[in-house]
């Protein structure tokens, strides 16, 4: 598991030496995963070479909008954030939990297959680091440890990347998850590129990170270079357009179950489940038990599920959350309020994916504000009418 070793020394890795980083990690035995172009987007997938990176590409994101566009430079990490998060590797969308066979009147569960190979993620944004920490709390720090997550998380090597620009739907500054990477990484990179130079300021966050660093052709960063991660991310923070007002957020949502805004949202929401699929902290799953045609062999598979589906809350007789309104309310109340009581933090990391990938562009930050305003207005009306009666 990654830990934060207190290293105030920063280093510089030239972009021409970046391939070394990938090679060293692969050499240690990691499966290297990073950003790459596919399906008209920047996604996270297996990479082997620097040329696999989305060099010179960026993504323009807004509500219900994602466009891949060319940059003027050849930055490696000049995009904002992939549609799907690293959760697809740590908490896979489909996992076979076990197989079993009938045997002499009883059944045997077959031994587990080999453990998955250790992974190295390159390009993890600050908000994504926080999302991983949030999922750690769910899957590792609860009463029951999820062996699937744990097997993939315990040997994970994280190369984080500071954001050089804010995305159109980002709001990490509202929830204290970025843009600057603070902790939870092995190595953190800040890309510096202009017409003259192209290098990375490297910070070490753990012993494993230190170990990898010793195999890279780095030089110490000078005083000016060492300040760049902060300068760059301060600038990124100033670009952030959206704001989630977290004042009294739990209390607000706990007392808003009958807020009329939910009905308004329900008119737009398609319950398509996109938001839950792209959200880096959503963790709900379902379990499928199947058998083969002979009935002798059975399997249990775990798959991602979404609270937006009709039968998510099905108990004999019907679904508890039947209406679209109740399902959207459940998702948002969970993400921004009940999560706090359950896990001690907000469930949202401000990555903005749900806004980008919602086909009708529902913006969680705007909706929270609308709920707040609707509540305030409702209370004001009550006060006025009480005055009239008194």
């Amino acid at each position: 598991m990654t830990s934060n070793t207190n290293s105030s020394t920063k280093f510089v890795l030239e972009s021409t030496d970046f391939q070394r980083l990938i090679d060293v990690l692969a050499g240690i035995g990691y499966r290297v995963i990073g950003p790459t172009l596919d399906h008209n987007a920047v996604i996270y997938d297996d990479i082997a070479s620097v040329t696999d990176l989305p060099i010179g590409w960026t993504d323009e994101q807004d509500a219900a909008t994602y466009r891949l566009t060319r940059r003027a430079d050849e930055a490696f990490f000049g995009y904002v954030i992939a549609p799907q998060s690293w959760k697809k590797f740590l908490h896979p969308s489909q996992v076979r939990l076990w197989q079993a066979t009938l045997n002499n009147g009883t059944f045997d569960i077959l031994p587990d297959p080999e453990k998955p190979e250790p992974m190295a993620f390159i390009g993890v944004r600050s908000c994504e680091l926080h999302a991983i920490a949030i999922q750690d709390r769910i899957f590792i720090e609860g009463e029951y440890v999820d062996p699937t997550y744990y097997a993939r998380r315990e040997n994970l090597f994280i190369v984080a990347v500071n954001c050089g620009q804010a995305g159109g739907t980002c709001f990490c500054t509202s929830v204290n998850t970025g843009p600057k990477v603070e902790a939870g990484y092995d190595l953190a990179l800040t890309e510096i590129i202009d017409h003259e130079v192209h290098y990375f300021v490297v910070e070490v966050g753990s012993e494993q990170g230190q170990h990898v660093l010793t195999q890279l052709p780095v030089r110490p960063a000078d005083k000016r270079e060492a300040k760049l991660p902060k300068t760059i991310t301060d600038n990124t923070a100033s670009q952030i357009k959206r704001h989630l007002n977290t004042d009294g957020i739990k209390e607000l949502l706990y007392t808003s179950s009958e807020n009329s805004r939910w009905d308004e949202i329900a008119k737009r929401c398609l319950t398509c489940t996109n938001c839950t699929m792209v959200c880096p902290t959503c963790f709900c799953t379902t379990v499928e038990d199947v058998t083969d045609l002979t009935g002798q062999h059975a399997e249990r598979t775990r798959k991602w599920d979404s609270c937006f589906t009709m039968d998510f809350s099905y108990i004999h007789g019907g679904s508890v959350r039947y209406s679209t309104k109740s399902r959207y309310r459940q998702w948002m109340t969970h993400k921004l309020a009940t999560w706090i009581d359950q896990f001690g933090t907000l469930g949202c990391v401000g990555c903005g994916r749900c806004i980008t990938w919602c086909p009708v562009g529902i913006d969680i930050t705007a909706e929270l504000e609308a709920i707040r305003q609707t509540k305030v207005k409702g209370e004001a009306t009550k006060e006025v009418s009480n005055e009239n009666v008194g």
Binding site: G105, T106, T285, T286, T291, H316, S326
Partner: protein, 287 residues
């Protein structure tokens, strides 16, 4: 606030999603759609212990898995008992089990009824329909240590006389002088000489000291809501009322997200809750 016994795990499960094989010793038909399974572990060295109120995930090979409360005697660890209604494909497959068949068990999970918190108090159990099954272990427990409790009263409502669960056992218990059982049905035929009407009707006249009682309610959610109100009308403190909730469950270990009810996970923060904990959420629609 009375303390609910926290999750008891009888042993450290290496993978909590893997069921253990249990063999059916006996299947008893309770009514036209309800049956009881008596199970014992296939592994002979295994003892199964649980707290009244806890549940298991029962797995029918290749068909599926569902949460069912344990309905047996906690002082008989050699035998695992479950009573269930046929409500879907898994329970339908279960109803066809015969002695010698094997099914999978994961558990026990969840919080238990406040049986030890009830020491020195009157114990009032209110059961609706199949809700009697998760409360039966409380009866076994209180009767096994009868001198620890004050009056023990069971109020039980079900659909009709044919639907009365554990009838022979109830009749036997009713004959005791230290236990009071009142049964009511939604409608009766001419052979029925007992009470007719909803179970909440039995509360105003039930023989217990409202100011020194611990109440445990189990049944359909509407019934539990109205029962809690009726008990409070009688003078029972909300803090002394416990109820058992139910929601869709897939994992039973707090990781699949399905069983959430407000901020609680029914599989690990419940299924037994103190009434004040849930009061505001129970009143809301579609939670």
């Amino acid at each position: 606030m009375i303390n609910l016994p926290s999750q008891t795990t009888t042993r450290q499960l290496t993978d909590p999603m893997k069921p253990e094989p249990f063999r059916v010793k006996r299947v008893m038909k309770e009514s036209y759609d309800t049956f009881t399974l008596e199970l014992e572990p296939v592994a002979t060295d295994r003892q199964f212990t649980f707290a009244p109120g806890q549940f298991n995930m029962l797995y029918m090979f290749g068909v599926g898995e569902i949460p069912i409360s344990i309905s047996g005697d906690p002082n008989q660890p050699g035998m695992l008992v479950h009573t269930t209604r046929i409500v879907g494909s898994v329970t339908k497959a279960m109803s066809k089990l015969k002695a010698g068949d094997v099914l999978g068990v994961r558990g026990p999970f969840g919080t238990g009824w406040p049986v030890s918190a009830a020491k020195g108090c009157d114990v009032i159990l209110v059961a609706g329909g199949i809700g009697l099954a998760p409360l039966r272990p409380v009866l076994y427990q209180t009767l096994a240590h009868r001198d620890r409790y004050g009056k023990v009263v069971l109020l039980y409502g079900c659909r009709s006389p044919e639907d009365i669960l554990f009838r022979k056992e109830l009749e036997k218990w009713r004959a005791r002088f230290d236990l009071e059982i009142f049964v009511t049905v939604d409608y009766g035929d001419s052979d029925w000489h007992g009470n007719v009407g909803v179970v909440t009707k039995l509360i105003p006249k039930a023989p217990f000291d409202a100011l020194n009682a611990v109440a445990m309610i189990c049944g359909p959610e509407v019934m539990m809501r109205f029962t809690a109100i009726e008990l409070q009308k009688r003078g029972v403190d909300g803090e002394s009322i416990a109820l058992s909730m139910e929601r869709n469950m897939k994992c039973a270990i707090g990781l699949c997200g399905h069983c959430q009810f407000g901020p609680t996970f029914i599989c690990k923060d419940g299924p037994v809750f103190n009434y004040p904990q849930l009061q505001s959420w129970l009143a809301q629609w579609e939670v």
